[in-house]
């Protein structure tokens, strides 16, 4: 893969700034400036498109091993490249669970083989996601996969002692526990956000307090043991307040928000269409606005997709029987442009921060989230912000189609992605 090709990206608005040329030589950025010539280089005329560092996702379900009917590492990384990502964190809730060095290395190797995007496995916190016994966190860290982020995502590490121990234990190698904050007893049988809409629809409520109570406990635990905690898919206005408070104390707390929680509300559940069934659930407009504001002011560190592919039959059914989750890799940047950039809440350099630099820092991912500057790895994404089109899931590279945006007109289109200087997406087509 380490060929010596040269690429000249001409006239790109680097981080949304003025037109700039970027010369890529081999795996690295060689020059950034104007009027670059680049002898013998492949020239890409950017024509005012926006150039960003390659996007990094902290929360992706690639489903392999075990649920290859919904996604594989190959199809998932192709979807990632289509969406402008150069690195994804593969969640541990596979079959078998990624709770040993063997499984995380297998996923890591599959990612290397795919060549579309770096795959950084997330290790399970507890054996089998069971919440009882710590998985071999150290062994996963020392494996070829070099795991830094640990999560039982899909399940909450609800036992306070297990959570405390996990937080303490990973300090030895600067690890982080990414918590799926969901108090299990408060969410038994939960189907949607608890509020006005659930009261009308007769669907069992998933109250905001079930998320917030766990976050409150976890930030206190992280402070107590001096460790790092990361809040997965934060979804409520109350959670924002808790994270803001924890950060004001100087505690090492980070948080992510999904694109769908930045845009969609529980009003959509009135259709009983399971494409809107997701965990944590879609919340209210007040929550959506609080999340946008928190992403803008940095309280929420980053956007993470929680890309959760499901086969058609798991969504083509009644609400109660349907699986939870939405695909998101191929629409994430468009949703962020729509909700954050076009609304004036973020500029493109801040988008690069929230979707590349910060997630790479949280995941301690070398070579990603770096500035576009000479000597840096050439992980790049070119996006056409003026493009507008309805979302067509049938055209996704992902194996699954469970997108809540079907038919919705969204702005922005990723046209080109480079992973260490090699194009993975060229003119909107996977290479």
């Amino acid at each position: 893969m380490s060929d010596t090709q040269r690429t000249l990206i001409r006239g790109a608005r680097l981080l949304g700034g003025p037109a700039t040329d970027v010369l890529v030589d081999g795996e690295t950025v060689a020059e950034v400036g104007t009027g670059l010539t680049g002898e013998g280089a492949t020239v890409v005329e950017a024509e005012g498109r926006v150039l960003l560092p390659g996007l990094v996702d902290l929360h992706t379900h690639l489903r392999e091993p075990g649920r290859e009917d919904s996604e594989t590492v190959l199809t998932g990384t192709r979807a990632a490249a289509s969406g402008g990502f150069t690195a994804v964190h593969a969640m541990a809730n596979t079959f078998p669970v990624a709770d040993t060095a063997g499984v995380v290395e297998q996923v890591w190797r599959l990612g290397r083989a795919s060549g579309y995007c770096d795959v950084q496995p997330v290790g399970a916190v507890t054996v089998g996601l069971g919440g009882r016994q710590l998985a071999e966190l150290g062994a996963m860290h020392e494996s070829a996969a070099g795991v830094v982020v640990f999560s039982d995502d899909g399940k909450c590490v609800d036992d306070a002692v297990i959570m405390r121990r996990a937080l303490e234990y990973v300090k030895a190698f600067d690890g982080v526990i990414a918590q799926h904050a969901q108090e299990p007893r408060l969410t038994e049988g939960a189907q949607m956000n608890e509020g006005v809409v659930s009261a009308e629809l007769g669907l069992t409520g998933w109250p905001a307090v079930a998320e917030e109570s766990i976050i409150a406990r976890d930030v206190l635990l992280a402070a107590h043991v001096g460790s790092r905690v990361h809040v997965c898919h934060l979804s409520t206005a109350g959670s924002v307040e808790l994270v803001r408070w924890a950060k004001s104390k100087g505690w090492r707390v980070t948080a992510e928000v999904t694109p769908h929680h930045l845009l969609l509300t529980d009003e959509l559940v009135r259709s009983y269409d399971p494409v809107y069934k997701v965990n944590p659930p879609l919340r209210t407009e007040q929550d959506v606005l609080a999340l946008r504001e928190a992403l803008a002011d940095g309280t929420i560190d980053c956007v993470a997709t929680d890309h959760a592919p499901h086969p058609h039959e798991d969504k083509d059914c009644e609400w109660g029987a349907a699986a939870m989750g939405m695909v998101g890799l191929e629409t994430a940047l468009s949703v962020v442009q729509h909700t954050m950039v076009d609304t004036g809440l973020l500029d493109w350099s801040q988008v690069a921060d929230r979707m590349s630099a910060r997630p790479a820092t949280i995941g301690r991912l070398p070579g990603h989230g770096r500035p576009v500057a000479p000597g840096e790895p050439a992980n790049l994404t070119l996006v056409d912000p003026d493009h507008r089109a309805p979302v067509e899931p049938g055209a996704f590279a992902s194996r699954s189609r469970n997108s809540p945006y079907r038919g919705l007109e969204l702005p922005g289109r990723v046209t080109d992605t480079w992973l260490r200087g090699r194009a993975t997406l060229r003119n909107g087509a996977l290479v």
Partner: protein
């Protein structure tokens, strides 16, 4: 009327009054020696039950048969159909069989809505109770029984100004949700009464008042509807003991005496005697339970008649309060 009856919210005030009036007309037929009308001859009504409910199924079956429809009972309960494909596959089967209407009872809230909107099926969908969402024909029969008791069943009348109190497990009750919507649409003032644990978060958007104090509400009630409270709720800490529930929210003779003289007691059945209602109340002449059951057949006939017989697209005959075929037995009336 809409193409389907999934929620009481599908009905306007005029739709609801039309159903009640039609049910009145049809109930007169039911009093005749020959109970059948030819209205739905050649039409197929499927009772699709994913959850046991013999009373509701029998009521719909009797209603369809009295209108001469072919009835197919399809019980999906007990087989291994807990996964969603079964609803879709079953729907496609029914579609292939030419079902003109599907009466569906399902344990999942929203299943009838899904059936009606997913494109799996072309016929009319009638919700016979879904999860903890709605049970619109139950609300219609309650309104019917109520109108008979309080307004003498007068055609064209609604329930304007009537004060109805619904007591019990509001949180898990599809009967409560449908009744709050329908009775309000018909002009009634509804109050729900329950311990706070059994009132849903978000109830503030409902068009009704909420009270935790049954005794305070009883003197101002024209009707009190007691909901069945499952004893298992106690295990999930919704209330401490059966005894305490009965003491605070059960209807006994002493409480009934505090209701206005004309006020009635309703119950959708089956009753938990000794829990939400004492035998003394259940067996008193103020209690409408038996009337509610017979109203069920009348109202379900009216719904099937109006959905299938009276107002189909391309159907020249205007819909109205007088069912086709009924004229022969009772003469025309403008």
């Amino acid at each position: 009327m809409k193409h389907h009856l999934v929620s009481a919210a599908d009905l306007t005030r005029d739709d609801a009054v039309l159903i009640l009036d039609t049910a009145e007309e049809l109930s007169r037929v039911a009093g005749r020696p020959i109970k059948k009308l030819p209205t739905l001859r050649g039409r197929t009504v499927v009772n699709l039950f994913f959850e046991d409910s013999t009373r509701t199924r029998i009521s719909f079956e009797a209603a369809a048969k009295r209108l001469s429809a072919d009835v197919i009972n399809f019980s999906a309960k007990g087989s291994s159909v807990s996964k969603g494909e079964s609803l879709k596959d079953t729907a496609l089967t029914l579609q292939a069989m030419g079902a003109d209407a599907v009466v569906i009872r399902h344990h999942d809230s929203g299943a009838p809505h899904r059936l009606a909107t997913s494109g799996w099926i072309g016929g009319h969908v009638v919700n016979a109770g879904d999860g903890t969402h709605e049970h619109p024909t139950q609300a219609l029969l309650d309104a019917f029984a109520l109108r008979r008791r309080l307004a003498d069943g007068a055609l064209g009348a609604d329930l304007a100004g009537r004060r109805v109190t619904i007591v019990g497990d509001i949180l898990h009750s599809r009967v409560a949700r449908s009744n709050v919507r329908l009775l309000t649409t018909l002009g009634a003032e509804v109050t729900v009464v329950a311990p706070p644990t059994l009132v849903p978060v978000g109830v503030e958007s409902w068009p009704c008042a909420v009270s935790y104090d049954l005794d305070a509400v009883l003197p101002d009630s024209d009707a009190v509807m007691m909901l069945r409270v499952q004893r298992e709720r106690m295990n999930a800490a919704y209330f401490p003991t059966e005894r305490e529930y009965a003491r605070r929210y059960g209807l006994d003779g002493e409480r009934m005496a505090r209701m206005p003289e004309h006020a009635v007691v309703m119950h959708p059945g089956p009753m938990n005697r000794g829990m939400e209602i004492t035998a003394e109340v259940a067996d008193s002449p103020r209690c409408t339970v038996v009337e509610q059951v017979s109203a069920g057949v009348d109202v379900r006939m009216a719904v099937l008649y109006l959905l299938l017989g009276g107002a189909g697209p391309g159907d020249e005959e205007p819909k109205g309060a007088t069912p086709r075929g009924a004229e022969a037995t009772r003469g025309n009336r403008a």
